[in-house]
Amino acid sequence: MSSDLATPGVWTRAQRASVERLHIRLESLLVLVALSALMAVLSPYFLSFSNLLNILLATSTIGILAIAATFVIGSGGLDLSLGSVMGLSGVVGAFVAVNLGAPSVLGVFACILAGGIAGYINGQLVTRAFVPAFIVTLGMLGLARGLALVISGGRVIYGLPEFMLYLGQGRPFGIPMPVIIFIATAFIAHCVLAYTRFGRHTLALGDSESAARAAGIRVERQRRILYTLSGALAGLAGLLFSARINSGDPTAGLNYELTAITAAIIGGTNLFGGRGSILGTMIGALIMGVLQNGLNLLAVQSYYQQMAIGAVLILAVFIDQYQVRKESRV
C-alpha cells in the first residue's frame, strides 16, 4: 500500500500498470517514441509512409527471429543457431523450388520444415542428450551454415517461382508481404505467449524449472516444442528473405542470432528466463530498426551504428535492472 507513495513521478502507478498489462516495459516504449521523434527532426525523409514501411520491412526478418529468441530465452534456454538456420532454410526452399522444380507451396513448406527439423534436433539434444543449450545451438550454428553452403555449392540459388516471390515482393494494399506476415506472426506469438497455457508454462519454466516440474508441466516436451518452434520461425524468416531477393543465399542471416537476442533483451526479456513479451520484443526490434534507418538516412557510417546499438542494449538493460531493483525494495 505504501508503494503508491513511494513512486512519485510523471507516471502514476495506475498508468504504469495499464501499460504493463500489455506486457511491455514503459521505458522501452518511451525510448522508441523519443528516438523516432529525434530522427523525424533530424531527417526530412524519416516520417514518410514509404520510409516507415522501409523500417518495418527491414525489421521483418530480425523481428521474426527475435520472436523465436523471446520464446526460447523466456523458457531459460538459448538458441544461437537462429541466423544459420534462417540461411539454411532459405537455401533448402530455393533448392526444392528451383533445382528440384517442385511447386511453390512445397518450396514454402520446405523452408519452414527445414527450420523446424533443425530446431527439433536442437530440442532433442538439449532434453535427451543433456548437452547444454549453448553448446548444442552453437554446434547447430556451424552445422546449418555449412550445410547451406554445401547444398547451394556456395552460390546463391536464383529464380524462385511466382508464389514464393509474392511472399517477399507482393504488395497488397501497398504494404509489402513480409511486413504483413511479420505483423501477423507477432500478433499470434503475442497471444500465445501472454494468454495461453503454453505461453505461461514457457515463462514459468524459465523462471524455475523445478517449480514447473512440480506443477506437472512436462518440462522436456515443452522445451522440445520451443526449440522446434524457434527453428520453424527461423525458417519463416529465411523464406521471407529469400523471396525478397528471389534467391536462396547461403550467407543470409549471418550473425542475426545476436541481433535477435539483442532485440528481445531490449524489449525486456530476462536473459535468464522467466520474463518476456512479444510486444516488448517488437518494440526492441523497432528501436533497433529506427536507429539503423535513421542513421542510414543521415548517412552515418555503419561503424557508429554498431556502437549506437551496443549502447542502447546496455542502457535498456540498465534501466530494466534499475526498475526491478526499485520494485523489489518497496
Binding site: 508503494s3 514447473a212 506443477a215
Partner: protein, 257 residues
C-alpha cells in the same frame, strides 16, 4: 479407508541406494509425521509419491489405483499435492500464476482458441488467500518480492486450491517465526477436520508430536518404526531416529532439533 499405500519402494541414484524397500500407508483424513535423520530418504520418498522421481521397484496405490506410471501432473489431478521445502515457486510470476501453474483455467475465444482466464485466476487466488486468513501486499506482484512467510502462503494456497486428498509438507515450519509456525499447525488440523490427509516432514519433533496421528520413522532408507502418536513420546521417537538405545546421541539430536 486406506488412501495411500506404498509397498517395497526402492530408489537409487547411480551407485547410491537411497530407499531400500519402504512400506507406508496413510488413511484418509489422517495426519502422519515422517521423521528421520538427514539423508534418511524422506524427501526422496515423497518425490516418488508425487512422481518427480520414478521408483525403481515397489508399488504405490492411491485411492485404490496404481499410480506408478502416472506423471506428476496426472498424480496432482488425482489429488496429491506437495509443498516443497524450497517452495518451488516461479519467483517472477504473480500470485495467481503460481497457484494455477499447470492447471490454468481457460475459456474459448471465438469458441476456438483456449485463452487462459486470468481474471478468474486472480479472483479465485484472492479468495483462497482470504480463506487462509493470510495477507499479501498485492496479488499482482511477483512472488519473488514477498517475504519468506508470504511465499509460503502462496505455496500453501497452491496446494489447497484444487481440493486435494493428500497434502505432503516438507519442512513447512523450518523458516518461519513462532507465530507463523502456529498458524501452519492450525492449518494442518483444519485440513484433517475437512478429511484431507497430511504427511508432515519435520525436524521439529514437538510440532510433529502435537499435530500428528501417527509417526513413521525413516532410517537408512527403510521404515524403521511406525508409532501411534498417542502412545509414544519424544525420547522414543528420538531413539528410533538415531537407531536403538543410544541415548547420548539421542539427547544431542534433540538439542539440535
Amino acid at each position: 479407508m486406506t488412501l495411500l499405500k506404498l509397498e517395497g519402494i526402492r530408489k537409487s541414484f547411480g551407485a547410491i541406494d537411497v530407499l531400500h524397500g519402504v512400506d507406508l500407508s496413510v488413511e484418509a483424513g489422517e495426519v502422519v509425521g515422517l521423521v528421520g535423520d538427514n539423508g534418511a530418504g524422506k524427501s526422496t520418498l515423497m518425490k516418488t509419491i508425487t512422481g518427480i522421481y520414478q521408483a525403481d521397484a515397489g508399488s504405490i496405490t492411491f485411492d485404490g489405483r496404481g499410480i506408478l506410471d502416472l506423471d506428476p501432473g496426472e498424480r496432482r489431478r488425482l489429488g496429491i499435492e506437495m509443498i516443497y521445502q524450497d517452495l518451488s515457486l516461479a519467483r517472477q510470476q504473480d500470485v495467481s500464476s503460481n497457484i494455477f501453474l499447470g492447471r490454468e483455467p481457460t475459456r474459448k475465444l471465438f469458441g476456438l482458441f483456449p485463452f487462459v482466464d486470468k481474471a478468474a485466476m486472480d479472483r479465485q487466488a484472492a479468495q483462497m488467500i482470504e480463506r487462509l486468513n493470510a495477507h499479501l501486499p498485492s496479488i499482482n506482484r511477483s512472488v519473488g518480492s514477498f517475504s519468506g512467510g508470504q511465499q509460503q502462503t502462496v505455496a500453501i494456497a497452491r496446494a489447497l486450491t484444487f481440493n486435494p486428498k493428500l497434502v505432503i509438507m516438507d519442512e513447512p515450519t523450518a523458516a518461519l517465526a513462532v507465530r507463523e509456525v502456529q498458524s501452519v499447525l492450525d492449518l494442518i488440523r483444519r485440513l484433517k477436520s475437512e478429511g484431507i490427509a497430511v504427511i508432515l516432514i519435520s525436524h521439529r519433533l514437538n510440532d510433529v508430536l502435537s499435530v500428528t496421528d501417527r509417526i513413521v520413522v525413516l532410517r537408512h532408507g527403510r521404515a524403521e518404526a511406525d508409532l501411534v502418536t498417542g502412545n509414544t513420546n519424544m525420547s522414543e521417537v528420538v531413539s528410533r531416529i538415531v537407531g536403538g538405545g543410544d541415548m547420548a546421541a539421542a539427547a544431542s539430536h534433540e538439542a539440535r532439533g
